[in-house]
Amino acid sequence: MIEVRGLTKRYGDVLAVDDLSFDVEPGKVTGFLGPNGAGKSTTMRVMLGLDRPSSGTAVVHGRLFSTLSEPLREVGALLDPGSVHPGRTGRNHLRVAARTNGIPTARVDEVIEQVGLADAARRRIKGYSLGMRQRLGIAAALLGDPGVLLFDEPINGLDLDGVLWLRGLLRRLADDGRTVLVSSHLMSEMQQIADRLVVIGRGRLIADATVDEILRGLGHLHVRVRSPEADSLLTQLQEKGLNVQRVDAQELHVEDSTAEQVGRLAHTLRIPLHHLSEVEQSLEQAYIELTSSSVEFHGHPAPVPAATEAAR
């Protein structure tokens, strides 16, 4: 169990985390979402005692991480996989970790095997790919068989096989009753992995709910319909008070409606349909809606070269 209460972290003039409070419960995978600069990594760093909070607390099983004697036996964490000495071998990196917490070397070899790094363990880390470094970081997190696990963007750099493996691992860890917090930008992945979501933006809590609650809460179920008489159908739907958007000559999106409702109306009006489906709200859409006002760094479309304009 992780409890974050009134956590604020300021770096000079920059307010990275602003009065943040939430719990991460055991037995679940909790997704930790937010745009770039939202304060996810800072929050995790404070949880792990790496950064001092300006105010507030983040405790694990009621204790500050910085007071733990054998932290690897209680909290395993993967933060930046690049934060390792590149000249050391993967196995030696883990041996150092094991020694600090009184963990036998045999356990080092076990976790190396578990994360699929057996062939590379005696090579220097500077030769590792990002995915291999992620696996090494996950091995370090698992070393003490902890009850609480924190992973910051663990999917970065993993190949498909690695993603599938990690997905299964996170599920198993949560099913074991462990507390699992995972930050990621990959919403589709979160939709598959997470039971609960904590969404933050500009350091503040935006949502703390299950994935279903977040999707349902946003509502906006919409229906995709294609018809050769789209104009007529559009008029009739609007007369019924529905919000309809035209996608192309034959396709419409009907907001806050159901396939049954649209199909019945088309049948009554004898308008032929070529396609009718309810479009499920994706977590990605929900995330964009939730965080649209909290995005700190916006990209801008590249300017169109003058020559291209002239060619038109």
């Binding site: 169990m1 770096y11 419960e25 055991p26 037995g27 760093r45 792990l48 005692g49 790496l50 950064d51 001092r52 099983h61 991480f65 910085s66 007071t67 733990l68 004697s69 054998e70 932290p71 690897l72 036996r73 209680e74 909290v75 964490a77 933060l79 930046d80 690049g82 934060s83 390792v84 000495h85 590149p86 000249g87 050391r88 071998t89 030696n92 990196h93 041996r95 150092v96 970790a97 020694r99 600090t100 917490n101 009184g102 970081g137 370090a140 003490g144 068989d145 902890p146 009850g147 198993r172 099913d175 074991d176 009753g177 462990r178 507390t179």
Partner: protein, 267 residues
């Protein structure tokens, strides 16, 4: 493994005593030190300087016995420790700064979040290794110089402990200064430049400009006096030289320790 459970797994171990934690952290620091290639390079450089020059000086004494007739080989070893100390200072300093340079301080503090324990263990291992190896190499240099010099050098055993104590003091105080600067500045280049200024450049420069009293307040002057039994300028005693070195080492360790304990890990 896959049974559904909402019971938190608490693997809280029995509370480990601070002493036991310190020993474990020292063991981890020892592994960390010797699994980095740079440590072995610095040791190789120091070995080459102190034993290679010790052998060469022995042969030179044998070839020209009139000049250094009957001189103690211990003094040869002490004078060779003067240049060799810089390899050990760099060795101790990079034992601290490499973690900041690579970002390795992030996992390090995840494994040892009690920063005072980490500071104590890292200081003990880096200073202990630099001092122990420095003294061993000085002894080896004295033996090599005595062996190769024939009758030109003597090796009075009664004077051995004094040489060991002097070299040990200079190396331990110098290494502690390097470790303290490493924790304080968190940057290898900045700490190395500062170290060379304090140990070599400023004492020589200020002494040369006539500020002997100021030059003698730097740790480099203390090291020079203790190893060479003289100073280029000014008046020092064994006690004032030792105190100068120890005060600088203690000050650097205090400031470095405070920075590690109080500030964010690697901001």
């Amino acid at each position: 493994m896959t049974a559904q459970s909402t019971t938190p797994l608490v693997h809280a171990s029995d509370e480990v005593s601070t002493g036991r934690l310190f020993v474990r952290t020292c063991a981890a620091e020892w592994t960390r030190l010797w699994t980095a290639r740079s440590s072995r390079w610095f040791l190789a450089a120091a070995t080459l300087v102190i034993t290679g020059l010790g052998t060469a000086l022995g042969f030179e004494s044998a070839a020209d016995p009139v000049e250094i007739q009957g001189g103690p080989a211990w003094q040869t070893a002490k004078s060779l420790a003067m240049p060799a100390q810089f390899a050990f200072l760099a060795f101790a300093l990079t034992a601290v700064t490499s973690d900041f340079a690579t970002g390795g301080i992030v996992p390090t503090l995840q494994w040892t979040p009690r920063r005072a324990v980490l500071f104590s263990a890292r200081t003990t291992v880096a200073v202990g290794a630099a001092t122990g190896l420095g003294v061993l190499l000085a002894l080896a240099a004295a033996l090599l110089a005595f062996t190769t010099a024939g009758s030109a050098l003597v090796l009075p055993l009664a004077e051995g402990p004094a040489m060991v104590a002097t070299v040990g003091l200079v190396f331990s105080a110098g290494a502690a200064l390097a470790v303290g600067l490493g924790f304080l500045l968190r940057n290898a280049a900045a700490a190395l430049v500062t170290l060379f200024l304090l140990m070599l450049v400023l004492p020589l420069l200020l002494g040369g400009l006539g500020y002997e009293w100021l030059a003698d307040s730097f740790p480099g002057s203390g090291a020079f006096f203790l190893l060479m039994e003289e100073t280029p300028q000014g008046d020092m005693t064994d006690a004032s030289a030792a105190i100068t070195m120890l005060v600088w080492a203690a000050g650097a360790l205090l400031l470095g320790g405070l920075r590690l304990v109080r500030e964010d890990a690697n901001r």
